[in-house]
Amino acid sequence: MDSRRTPRSVIDPKVRQVGFFAPPDRTNSGQPDPISSSSSSPSPPAANISPSGNSLSPVMIPPPRHSSDSRPVPFVPHPASPLRRESIPAGSSYNPSDFYPPATSPTAASPSSFACRMPVGGYGEFSEDVVALSPGRAFRGSSVRASASSSFPGGGFDLTALKASSVPASELTTVSVFNLPPGIAEKAGGAFVEMQNDRHVSSKAAKEKTTKAERRALQEAQRAAKAAAKAEGNKIPGTGSSAVTSVNVKPAKGVKAALQKNDSVSVAASEKKVADRPVEKDRKKDVPQPRMQYDDRSRVEKAKRRAVVYQTEARNRVELFRHLPQYEHGTQLPDLESKFFQLDPVHPAVYKVGLQYLSGNISGGNARCIAMLRAFQEAIKDYSTPPEKNLGRDLTAKLSSYVSFLIECRPLSISMGNAIRFLKGRIAKLPLTLSESEAKALLQSDISRFISEKIILADKVIVKHAVTKIRDGDVLLTYGSSSAVEMILLHAHELGKQFRVVIVDSRPKLEGQLLLRRLVGKGLNCTYAHINAVSYIMHEVSRVFLGASSVLCNGTVYSRVGTACVAMVAHAFRVPVLVCCEAYKFHERVQLDSICANELGDPDAISKVPGREDINSLKHLASSEKLQLLNLIYDATPSDYISMIITDYGMVPPTSVPVIVREYRREHLWI
């Protein structure tokens, strides 16, 4: 309790000003806030905050309920504010009863989806090439939220609501609508809420009266609103927000009032994006490694908060990896699928790809990147510049929103980040004289060229190089399933080289089995082993071929978890380790460990063995708060263990990666 109060009291005064004072004041007061000013530009916080003043509180990040058990909003797992902590349990306890029934119908699902997309829209700008930043945004938002909530002691609600109607539109106002239920849930639900946060309780006092039935009514309204919004075209944000604020005041407002909120959410989100954009760019220039930066801050924040993190949330996350977006599998899929046919800011092609990422149908760096680029190609094809907008800017904003959607589905890989950066660079460099159709055609051909040159042809070159390193009688070891390595092995086999393949695999994905199947199907001699046996099998191996998700500037290979282990064992046995990686996956970041940037997989995947009841000993432990499950997706292999990196620029030592990165960037300029 005390531990929570101190941070709040620090943040409080600033944000209270932000909420209630005139715009100039807001921006000014927004800046001093160390978190918001550093993690993003001063103006976006102002934009966020002003509405938060009128809405009540825990608004910025939409109901964590989604994240807690249904949605994979990447940043939600970071307990950024005490409020969130409370709202999450509320969500989890109430979701089954309150939200799931509506969620089954597509319309009801929409509010949640919008709520979740909203912050993402905000952090889409970050995400284009730096996945890591996303939590930073979340962080800021939540801090704002925390302070905003604390600024409404007692029955501040009505007052703020009134005020809100005069405040210009912003996504936050709208989102606050969605936030109501969790707030209420919180109130009704947890005794611990009161115990933990008396002040917050008082702020919610106004709402307290709303019963479950009322909440249901609100939901109905939202659902109706969603349905109506589908029919409605673009709405002016101002009207949308006013309508929504009125909803704020009276949750069970009519359909009419609520119906614009969809629009307003999306519009506001994009607005905010546009507003953020230039500043973001500046910030990006200033801060070369936003991910790292965030990481640092998150640790600070985490330390502040560690004592009070709610268990259900912490359950799956290992201490050291709290800064990573938690990726939860499963339940969100039907949700998303049901939204497929709705009018949506996300292009269907992108949507499809996102769902495929989510379901794991598309995996592997190249496949994901190609799928994404093709989807963008589709989207660009169907794109038309809205009136009074600039194609470059609007398209970039649109792409950012797509990207943030994709990030929701699964964090971007570095290769995808590079591809997005390429695409955005192309958009930015479009000559102004081009007509829209020309520009679109140009962009589409650029994307095709990127795919064919940087991925497909690059793979061919890699295969050509790598095959020279395979001699008759070799025993080649590979880990997991890498498309490049597979091509190399098949090509070497076609060339008639006599060699044997050892495929090392690991739980839970067992991707190696698919590779094994394909290779055996082509008539290769294969041995299959799990990674536990790698030290046993290594002595007979003469070459290790590994794929990579990315190669970083210090030569570190960022790849499927387990790769480092294989590389180290190989090094210990003095077996050369060859990493096959297209140059477009190189990244100028330097990473020393696998902790600060990584992806977390579904923890259930490692705790459960499907179909094997006899060894599912963790079945009943899954909910134990003493148990932390860590399912890392990637790891970083230090360059010492790598003998050679095979890229489309030839075979280079890991020390030469920076040179390639340099040349490659220059080439980008040339394109």
Partner: protein, 404 residues
């Protein structure tokens, strides 16, 4: 007699009784160090200190010029600078070039012609020969000329497929000479003359590389040091010669270099320079390693990883030196940089040679006849090249810049 510490020698020198070792040494030994170094500078200045700097920068500028394709300005500047020191340092070029007329032109003949010069490295000979190809070409278009050049270099490469420096030199020459984007803007004759210019410049750079390396490496040879040398390398000899001429006090351990006895040859050369030499059998390297201050080797080829391919035995010497924390220096001209990347010892085209054991070997007994081995970059400390003193990892960077 000799000990490891330099102070011992200085001490000895002060006593002035150092004459016991070699009869011809006392004058130099009695010189005090500052004097000797200033003497050395004065001695070196006339023949190569100025060209050394300019050639070094030229090389770098030229290499980068190739990559960045704004070679025109640089090439012209370089040529302008170049023309003064080209004439004195290379009297033999016109002579050799003029010896080619008459019979139908053949690169190989030309190459062999150049190779007759004892001091000229194979690759430099090849580069010179290729330059002559351009000069004597009757091609009328750039493409034709390029194809002709390609053919010539291919035939040169096939002349000795195992020579890494030959292959690398030819490749580099082609890169250096023909990758000039400005060629498109000119008419053929001026383009051709530009090519010739570049070709000659490249030949010149390669020719001078050895001097540059010798100059660069002087800083690393200190008084009283013991240098272990393996194999006969003209670059290393040049380095040691320069050190001896600058009155550095050092001694050299020469490995025997079985089976070609290359070490014997080097020790002969060094003895002529009055450098104290000790011959070791190849297997005595580890035994003597604790006396050694640095290992100096040449290279047949420098590969992309930054490792070197060199005479058999280099690897084990490097291993021993590494395990005893002795620096291993490699002296190699940049035309030996090859786009090869051996992963291990067997991962390269073997250069076989006959080995005479002195006694008949039963036919059932297999003999390892490979002439060279691969030393991974891990075991090398520095590479002295005409591009500068490089760490092994820079080799790849230079190669990437040259070839991409």
């Amino acid at each position: 007699m000799w000990r490891r510490s330099a102070s011992f020698i200085l001490e000895k020198r002060e006593q002035g009784n150092a004459a016991a070792d070699s009869s011809s040494k006392p004058e130099s030994l009695s010189l005090s160090p500052p004097q000797s170094s200033s003497m050395a500078d004065a001695f070196q200045n006339p023949n190569s200190s100025n060209p050394k700097i300019s050639a070094y920068y030229q090389t770098r500028a030229a290499h980068h010029g190739v990559v960045t394709s704004d070679w025109l300005a640089q090439a012209q500047a370089a040529v302008g600078r170049h023309s003064d020191d080209q004439a004195p340092s290379e009297p033999d070029v016109p002579a050799a070039a003029s010896s080619e007329p008459g019979k139908p032109f053949s690169v190989i003949d030309e190459f062999n012609n150049w190779r007759k010069q004892p001091d000229l490295a194979e690759a430099v000979a090849a580069i010179r020969a290729l330059a002559t190809v351009i000069r004597s070409s009757e091609a009328t278009t750039m493409m034709e000329l390029e194809i002709e050049l390609k053919k010539a270099s291919d035939s040169l490469k096939s002349w000795d497929t195992t020579s890494i420096s030959l292959t690398a030199g030819c490749d580099l020459f082609l890169r250096y000479v023909t990758r000039t984007s400005a060629l498109e803007y000119e008419d053929f004759n001026s383009a051709k003359s530009r090519l010739i210019e570049r070709a000659e410049k490249f030949g010149e750079i390669s020719y001078k590389a050895r001097r540059i390396i010798a100059m660069l490496s002087q800083d690393f040879i200190f008084d009283g040091c013991t240098i272990l040398v393996h194999g006969f390398s003209r670059v290393v000899l040049e380095v040691l010669k320069t050190a001896a001429q600058t009155k550095k006090l050092f001694r050299v351990f020469c490995t025997e270099g079985r089976p070609d006895r290359t070490g014997l040859r080097l020790s002969n050369e060094l003895a002529k320079l009055d450098v104290p030499v000790k011959l070791l059998i190849d297997s005595a390297v580890a035994y003597t390693m604790d006396e050694v201050d640095m290992v100096f080797v040449g290279a047949d080829g420098v590969v992309e990883s930054g490792g070197i391919i060199n005479m058999m035995g280099t690897y084990q010497i490097a291993l021993v030196a590494h395990s005893m924390n002795k620096p291993v220096y490699v002296a190699a001209e940049s035309y030996k940089f090859a786009r090869l990347y051996p992963l291990d010892q067997k991962d390269m085209a073997p250069a076989l040679r006959p080995i005479d054991f002195g006694v008949p070997i039963p036919s059932k007994v297999e003999v390892e006849r490979s002439a060279r081995d691969y030393t991974p970059p891990h075991y090398l400390t520095l590479l002295f090249t005409d591009l500068g003193v490089l760490t092994p990892s820079v080799v790849s960077d230079e190669l990437i810049q040259l070839y991409l």
